[in-house]
Symmetry: C2
Subunit: 516 residues, 2 copies
């Protein structure tokens, strides 16, 4: 039932979903009874992709004998415009049988996970099928071997880096935080510290998805972060580190596709989180990982039993995949540091690196703790010495020098970016002691103010938990570039500042990292 | 954050998903940080719709200050081209909180179901969210009150017909089959019989979705089936009946949208099936319904316990919604009649109506049984008399005359359509007695032969269960119009004919309807 058509690139970005555009009067559409949303296979020059069909009534988009492809589909097929192509009803992805078994609540075997992830990575699943997979694996708790097999499958579906030549058998170290805590920009401190200690730390980070800033957004305030892979490898060889944007599509193509569905559904099940994080770290060539699980009432993980279950799941999968893993459960009951938003967070990072007395103490302490645990992956470092070594590197200025070397290698930004010039102070509704700060609320206010698209936008905290405030004194300042943004953010903060203030002073709760 | 743009209709049919097209260089895209797949709200002239964003790089599709809308989105917004419009990040659909509770496995309350279906019907769910809803309600068995509330909500979301003036309190009767049995074209017999008896039977049917023919496709061989609603109502007033295409979008808009997701996922859970069928029947104004549940090894329902559970669920919901329901569990172990495909099935129907000795006995018997049960909804008919009345109507030629009146009223087809001229006989692999015929296999062969897009294509069964065949004698003939179609269908039939033939004759299994 294949028929000959001519390939045309259609300038429509449909993200990771391949879309094929056929004219309603196309003889193939009429003969084969194609309908909008039908799943089709496009074949040209020995290549084949699956796509969802959109039926077109406008000759400007595609002619009657043309087969239009959305940007991603065109790139994936790798065939020039005008090339002959054939289209047919797609055979269902082979792994849909396994997907249906998962929907029915069954446990899947290793080969099922590999088959599903192979099909996902090859873009053989429609958005609808991807959503079905995400919900089905969310609803039926995966057992730990299912999570292991999912992780393995995600690694197998992408490219895997090997830093062996650089490290000669030594560790390739990384750190990762499961997210959810605004301002928590420890990577930009940890990477210079541990690489100044001589460890290889090729750190790639994501941009913000739902948060006011990702590490890549914040680093971009100081230096270029979008670098071709070969350049990145050279920087790592020269400096022992990098702080770049991940561009995960090559290393973990399946993860990239699944996240595009998980994000709008706001689903983040433990199994999917573990598979997503560990597959990316292992594909990036890391051998040793410190993982930060912040716990708090407005964090992703809200109780110690939940944090412990997640820790054990990470540990089980990492051990089976030969990744050395050190999980730290940290205090997530408020934002870390003072700034929320790329420019304000970058300012905090540089204050810490410069040993400025105005540097936020919590950000400094947390970075030293995490860097110390990474340094203890070094076989020549005695257990318990890591924190002191990290502190010496920071206080001696070696961490700052290393950060400057990384910035110089990646390409420094020519002009500094200022914090947003429009400012509004949010006042305390009563006098008392700050008991907690709602991470989700502050993140949302910073996003409405314009972060991360407007790098200078965000929130600057003036008071943190345990500190006393007078009634009417400012709790934090909102920075924005546009009046409308400031108005939206201010309205949200006026409705609820996100701060809980007690009338009577209370002792500060012990930070959980002390217990971990 | 709203911004002014000019509406442009983009001639792309994206089925039920609203898509908005914005140029990558559009200042609004840049300022608000929109990305492909973002969910946006489009506002114009007091109307608002939600849509998924596609980012465009081609000025021919949309200019930098235009807001393109896919065909469905344009129709839904009801605003002319060139009209000013604003776009903003969409607020999440209010019922997504309830959806997340369902994904987490909770039981939902009546108001949750109404909120979800209201949002679905208003196209506030993306395809991804629709898929999440379908999978979540499939995975966690709905209890019967949840199914009731889902059904109620689906009725409330659409238009509801009222035939009160026609029937003056009398019954409005309908029949429905849950599907899965090729050739099972009883509606085209039942409707003329019961309307000849004087009952109002305004039957609307669907076209084939995954089967080789729907009732609407088969009726279309004889008469027009796509009629405006007012014309349909007039035909029903004149003849007491109709046999038309449903065009369900108005009566059950939520069902229409959900089916577009259930179909590609091939998910058909009992709760969704009950809500979908009963909501459409009640919205169409039916007061009395005979429901056919075929049971057999290759039918949708494969065991008597499963059939009984489904029957009780239908009965519970129907009773609560004041629909008189008579559920019949029928023999689904092989196709009904001889023809599979629109033309061949229409031939069978007309043979039965003409009392032709060559008419398939099983189709005739099943139609009389169902018509008889519908006739017993008549308060003036004694229990047990329905079958005899139906037979008298059929044998006297009154059913044929009524069918001719319906055809004349809907508009007869000017030229008869012939069965596909390319024919291949599929031979028996051995001598013996036919024990069973695989419904799914025969349906697939008929579809590959071209049905229903090619109305004359399909399969014509020459031997049914319980009959003896010689080795090499033809079991059925494949009809096609195009050589390629015949080749595909023949290859599938050669691999496995779908017939199970026993060496020794066996007694025919009692048909389950005798037990119902």
């Amino acid at each position: 039932m294949d028929a000959q058509l001519s390939i045309r690139r259609v300038g429509i970005d449909t993200w990771r979903e391949n879309v094929a555009y056929l004219h309603r009067e196309c003889p193939v559409v009429r003969a084969a009874g194609f309908q909008a949303l039908a799943k089709v296979t496009v074949r040209a020059n020995g290549m084949a992709i699956n796509a969802v069909l959109n039926v077109v009534d406008d000759d400007h988009i595609v002619g009657a004998c043309e087969l239009g492809l959305s940007e991603d589909a065109f790139a994936r097929l790798q065939v020039a415009e005008g090339h002959a192509a054939a289209i047919a009803h797609a055979e269902p992805a082979p792994s849909l049988v396994a997907l249906h078994r998962k929907i029915a609540g069954e446990r899947l075997a290793r080969e099922d996970w590999h088959a599903i992830i192979r099909d996902v990575a090859a873009a053989r699943y429609t958005k609808i099928e991807l959503a079905a997979f995400v919900v089905a694996t969310h609803q039926t708790d995966l057992d730990r071997d299912e999570v292991l097999h999912l992780t393995e499958a995600m690694i197998a579906a992408g490219r895997r880096l090997d830093w062996g030549a650089q490290v000669r058998g030594g560790p390739v170290v990384d750190k990762h935080c499961i997210g959810g805590i605004p301002g928590n920009r420890t990577s930009m401190l940890v990477v210079p510290i541990v690489s100044a200690h001589g460890m290889l730390c090729p750190k790639t980070s994501s941009r913000a998805i739902t948060s006011p800033a990702g590490t890549a957004d914040t680093m971009e305030v100081l230096a270029q972060v979008e670098l071709p892979f070969e350049r990145l490898a050279q920087i790592v060889r020269e400096t022992g580190a990098c702080l770049a944007w991940g561009g995960t599509a090559e290393l973990s193509p399946a993860d990239d596709i699944l996240i595009a569905v998980e994000r709008p559904l706001a689903l983040d099940s433990p199994g999917q989180m573990v598979a997503s994080i560990l597959s990316k770290k292992i594909a990036a060539g890391s051998t040793h990982l410190v993982l930060d699980i912040p716990m708090g009432p407005s964090a992703k993980v809200r109780s110690m039993p939940e944090a412990q279950r997640l820790k054990k799941l990470f540990e089980y999968v990492a051990r089976r995949l030969n990744l050395q893993l050190d999980v730290v459960i940290t205090d997530g009951h408020q934002p870390i540091g003072r700034g929320i938003g790329p420019v304000l967070e970058a300012r905090d990072v540089m204050l810490v690196l410069r040993n400025d007395p105005a540097a936020p103490a919590d950000l400094r302490q947390k970075a030293l703790m995490l860097a110390g645990r990474m340094i203890e992956f070094d076989p020549d470092v005695r257990g318990g010495d890591g924190w002191r070594i990290a502190r010496d590197i920071l206080e001696s200025g070696r961490a700052l020098a290393q950060m400057e070397a990384i910035i110089a290698a990646q390409g420094p930004r020519s002009q500094p970016i200022a914090a947003g010039a429009l400012v509004h102070g949010v006042p305390a509704a009563r006098a008392g002691v700050v008991r907690s700060i709602d991470n989700l609320r502050l993140a949302r206010i910073a996003r409405l103010a314009g972060a991360p698209q407007v790098p200078g936008a965000g929130v600057d905290l003036l008071v943190k938990s345990g500190e006393a405030v007078e009634s009417g004194a400012p709790l934090y300042r909102i920075h924005a570039q546009y009046p409308a943004d400031l108005g939206f953010a201010r309205a949200l903060a006026d409705a609820d500042s996100g701060y809980v203030i007690d009338g009577a002073p209370q002792p500060v709760v012990d930070a959980p990292e002390a217990l971990a």
